[in-house]
């Protein structure tokens, strides 16, 4: 994966130019119209690069689709990607690079919380329209960062989905909440404990656990002895998640494990001692990327999957990453198309008008005072061990 400065292939450019030449109106201009440059900053290499690789497939596919049709008003989309490696210092350098040197019109990413927290102020100072794909709650502030729009759920929405599932579908009263000892984990843990308590549930045990800890039995035992009916897990570490499931089985403890999307990563399948240990695990998922009780994806998603099957792998990634990448590119392209300009205030102004914009991944609604646009009810719980072509079965109990 060498994404630095990746531009479109000559093939696409030649095709687009041929299409342009065929239209006398545009042929009159002589020069090719200025491309719409999009900065795409993410963790292409290093730990936690799988989401980025998924997003990237969606980004590339969407851009190719749009450019094949001649781009936006004759302007082609040009994606300038930078690998930030999960390092906030590299992310700051890369952001300044795409803003000042590459002069992009909009930015998608970074994906990692630590990087996003550092780069958001820079993008705000430069007033560059930015689509945020991270979950940290404090990233979105229409007053401080009027240029930043979140196109994924916030962590609050994730937690809300888990809470809703525990309270209203599983109908439990006592939960245990665990997370790993990382930046994201510690804050997700604190938020979750507070939210569950505020909703009236009893948190009988909670812990922040070192993801390298070789055996989680003591914490599982404590949770079991305290009478927990559900284990809520916010860890992003596949190793820790697998150890939890193994320990649950060793203790003969039949409770659901519910939580972070990472509970569904393919690696866990290889790390659990027996495949059935991965049963009764439900992670945050999306209606758009879930097989309903009829075994089918929603119509738009199914069409998408059918059209890309064979073009790039789906089995080793999550569909929602790809879908999110597609939506981001489409949001940028549509903003330029509808306003006839790639000026930042025009793009921002357009996004502020969106109501229930139907994306592949979810529905987005923004206003000048609300930049958390992802529709909460699009967030659901999925069955972790049911991945097919990147999508999951809905967890039991949904209608």
């Amino acid at each position: 994966m060498s994404p630095k400065g990746s531009t479109l292939t000559r093939r696409t450019l030649v095709r687009a130019s041929a299409a342009a030449l065929a239209l006398p109106a545009i042929a009159r201009h002589g020069l090719a119209a200025e491309p719409i440059r999009i900065g795409w900053l993410a963790t292409f290499t290093g730990p936690l690069s799988s989401p980025t690789i998924g997003f990237d497939r969606g980004v590339k596919w969407a851009v190719e689709q749009i450019n094949d049709k001649g781009g936006v008003d004759g302007r082609l989309l040009e994606v300038i990607s930078r690998d930030t490696q999960g390092d906030p210092t590299k992310a700051v350098n890369a952001t300044q690079d795409v803003i000042s040197r590459q002069k992009v019109h909009a930015i998608f990413g970074p994906v990692n919380s630590g990087e996003l927290l550092a780069t958001t102020p820079i993008m705000a100072r430069a007033k560059v329209p930015s689509l945020v794909a991270g979950v940290v709650n404090s990233l979105i502030d229409p007053v401080k960062f009027p240029n930043a729009f979140r196109v994924t759920p916030s962590n609050h929405q994730w937690d809300g989905a888990v809470l809703n599932y525990c309270q209203n579908i599983l109908k439990v009263k006592k939960v245990a909440i665990t997370a790993d000892a990382t930046g994201y984990g510690t804050s997700a843990h604190d938020d979750s404990v507070a939210n569950f308590k505020a909703a009236g549930l009893e948190v009988v045990y909670d812990a922040v656990i070192d993801p390298a800890q070789p055996d989680i039995t003591p914490d599982m035992l404590r949770s079991k002895n305290a009478g927990a009916e559900v284990m809520v897990s916010w860890t992003v570490s596949s190793g820790m998640a697998a150890r939890m499931m193994n320990a649950r089985a060793a203790l003969n403890w039949d409770v659901p494990i519910v939580g972070h999307p990472a509970l569904g990563t393919g690696e866990i399948g290889k790390l659990v001692n027996k495949p059935e240990y991965w049963d009764k695990v439900y992670q945050v998922g999306y209606r758009s990327c879930s097989y309903g009780p009829d075994g089918k994806l929603p119509k738009a998603s199914q069409e998408f999957v059918d059209s890309v099957r064979g073009k790039f792998p789906l089995q080793d990634t999550s569909l929602w990453w790809i879908a999110s990448g597609v939506d981001a590119m489409r949001l940028i392209a549509e903003a330029v198309a509808k306003t006839g300009s790639s000026d930042s205030d025009k793009i921002i102004g357009y996004w502020n008008t969106l109501q229930m914009w139907p994306g592949l991944y979810g529905h987005y609604s923004f206003s000048p005072t609300e930049h958390n646009g992802f529709l909460g009810s699009d967030v659901v719980m999925s069955k972790a061990n049911t991945a097919r072509e990147g999508a999951f079965d809905l967890a039991p109990g949904y209608v």
Partner: protein, 577 residues
């Protein structure tokens, strides 16, 4: 690196950058400058002092969080916050660095890594103060520093100041002392350098610059989280110093700029950047341990004359010092020193009189060097005492001897190979410097007069031993015999009341031994009491006023050379017929 030209060129280029580059380069340039503020201080610890503090990033973290917390939660002025970050860094620097005094190198390196991890973990855990995993915003500056170039120029200013100060320290007796404890710790002690006091000062200073760098870093990043302070960053700082070369300011400066720019310029390498840094580190250590500084060291490439000879000028001793008549003697009284069950010295009485040459001879293993080590404070006797006049020489504190006027040389020359001959010799008068560390860093008048005085004295000592033409040459280019005389010059620079020589004639030619003898006599005539431990019987009998013969740790015989030559047991045990 005396020449100011390279620094001037870099500084001017940095000043001109805003004129022809965009904001991106402002960020990169500011980053290089901020890192340099930390690396320049760390350079004194690692490059000059040889203390392998790999986990120094802990201080960057502390400085960052201190500054950010003070601004975000207490609304302090950012510059005051930076200074506060510096103070916290200074104190933490001492805490992180102090184990260096107790632990061997590898252990110390590990403890610094441990500190770095502890600081990051605490930052993660202490949510109410540090924001935990979410972190907190860095200090925001007001105009004109809130623009990319404004901030860049601010950081450039800090970088320039810290370059100037560390260069001054490097050229002062503090810099020389640091290199001394790095490469010749035992000899450094003999010249009165206190490793503990020196390191504490340096850790305070370097910790301060690291803390200030932390505050600037937080502003550069706009927002800090624990993951920004990675082990990779710590290793990068470290490698910049190694790549630049030990004992140099310019080398690490260039190294730091290169390492900051490298991932930006070679973007396909981003994924492999840490791997390449590691390869670079290994390559430098194996192929070019001197780093960039060694490559730039043109003056030491000039060939030396191969037909050099050492011609001391004994008549010049009096110009260096003249102690005058009657002074205290060194007296050993019933000294017993045992290593486990072995009595290396078994009840020794000996007097070294001022103005006389006292020879100490005997078979190998008879305790000669051990006696010298007791006098110079490296060994503590189990029984008996060593006196200077009526005062007991303090036990186990070799660095106190220099102030008492006792200097020595060593059986194998302990000289700093990478320093010049003049720098080596100036170390002999370290304790006669008056300027404090900060006065040296700011080149205040007292420091400058120190340097003038010490340089003059060292040159005078070199004239005495006949090595003045080699003053600017790196010591590791000298022949063995020249190194022996360098050690003597170092000892003489301190104008010692007593000079302890440990087999100075070993490895010298006959000609050189003769000249050495004349020199030692001249030193004694200037009032210094000389203890000469030797195997060369001719030299002993030529120049000594008194001779003590040791055997199995006890005095076998003592008296004038004539007495000893005739002594039957001495002849049979040692001298031969």
């Amino acid at each position: 690196m005396r020449s100011l030209l390279p620094y001037a060129l870099i500084f001017v280029a940095a000043l001109l950058l805003p004129l022809f580059a965009n904001d991106y380069w402002a960020v990169i340039g500011a980053r290089a400058a901020v890192y340099w503020v930390l690396v320049a201080g760390l350079n004194l610890v690692v490059g000059y002092g040889g203390q392998l503090a790999i986990g120094w990033v802990a201080l960057l973290t502390l400085g960052s969080y201190t500054a950010s917390i003070l601004v975000a939660r207490f609304n302090l002025d950012p510059f005051v916050a930076y200074a506060a970050g510096g103070v916290v860094g200074a104190l933490a620097g001492v805490v992180v660095g102090l184990p260096a005094l107790r632990l061997r190198t590898f252990y110390f390196a590990m403890t610094t890594l441990g500190f770095a991890t502890i600081v990051t973990q605490v930052a993660l855990a202490w949510q109410s103060v540090t924001g935990g995993g979410i972190g907190l915003p860095g200090p925001l500056l007001a105009a004109p520093f809130d623009s990319a170039w404004g901030f860049y120029l601010l950081c450039l200013g800090f970088a320039a100041i810290v370059t100037w100060m560390t260069a001054n320290v490097a050229a002062s007796r503090y810099g020389r002392s640091l290199v001394a404890i790095r490469d010749a710790e035992v000899a450094a002690e003999a010249t009165g350098i206190s490793k503990a006091r020196l390191l504490v000062i340096v850790f305070l200073f370097s910790g301060f610059t690291a803390g200030v760098a932390g505050g600037l870093f937080a502003t550069l990043q706009s927002y800090i989280t624990p993951e920004a302070f990675s082990f990779d960053l710590s290793v990068t700082f470290f490698i910049a110093i190694l790549v630049g070369g030990r004992g140099s300011i310019l080398g690490p400066l260039i190294g730091n700029i290169v390492l900051t720019l490298l991932p930006e310029v070679a973007a396909p390498l981003v994924a492999w950047s840490t791997f390449l840094y590691a390869v670079l580190l290994l390559a430098i250590v194996l192929l070019m341990p001197g780093g960039i500084a060694a490559v730039l060291d043109f003056s030491n490439r000039k060939p030396l004359a191969s037909d050099r000879s050492i011609v001391p000028a004994p008549e010049r001793v009096r110009a260096l010092f003249d102690h005058g008549p009657v002074r205290d003697n060194i007296v050993l009284s019933k000294v017993v020193l045992a290593f486990g069950g072995v009595r290396a010295i078994d009840g020794l009485d000996m007097t070294i009189r001022a103005g006389e040459v006292h020879g100490l001879i005997g078979p190998n293993g008879s305790g000669k060097t051990t006696t010298l080590n007791v006098i110079s404070g490296y060994y503590t006797p189990q029984e008996g005492e060593a006196f200077l006049g009526t005062r007991v020489l303090p036990h186990g504190v070799p660095q106190a001897r220099s102030a008492l006027g006792i200097a020595r040389t060593f059986q194998t020359p302990r000289v700093i190979g990478e320093a010049s001959v003049l720098q080596n010799v100036m170390i002999g008068a370290t304790i006669d410097g008056r300027a404090s560390f900060m006065e040296a860093a700011l080149t205040l008048p007292r420091h400058r007069s120190d340097e003038r005085r010490l340089t003059a004295r060292a040159m005078a000592a070199l004239e005495v031993v006949g090595l003045a033409p080699l003053a600017a040459v790196r010591a590791d280019r000298l022949q063995h015999s020249e190194l022996r005389f360098v050690e003597i010059a170092r000892a003489l620079t301190g104008r010692p009341a007593f000079l302890l020589l440990d087999e100075p004639a070993a490895g010298l030619s006959t000609e050189e031994i003769q000249r050495l003898g004349i020199l030692i006599k001249a030193v004694a005539e200037a009032g210094t009491g000389v203890l000469l431990v030797e195997h060369h019987a001719d030299l002993i009998f030529d120049i000594c006023d008194h001779v003590t013969v040791l055997n199995l740790g006890r005095e076998l015989a003592a008296g004038t050379p004539a007495d000893i030559r005739a002594h039957k047991e001495v002849v049979s045990a040692y001298l031969g017929a």
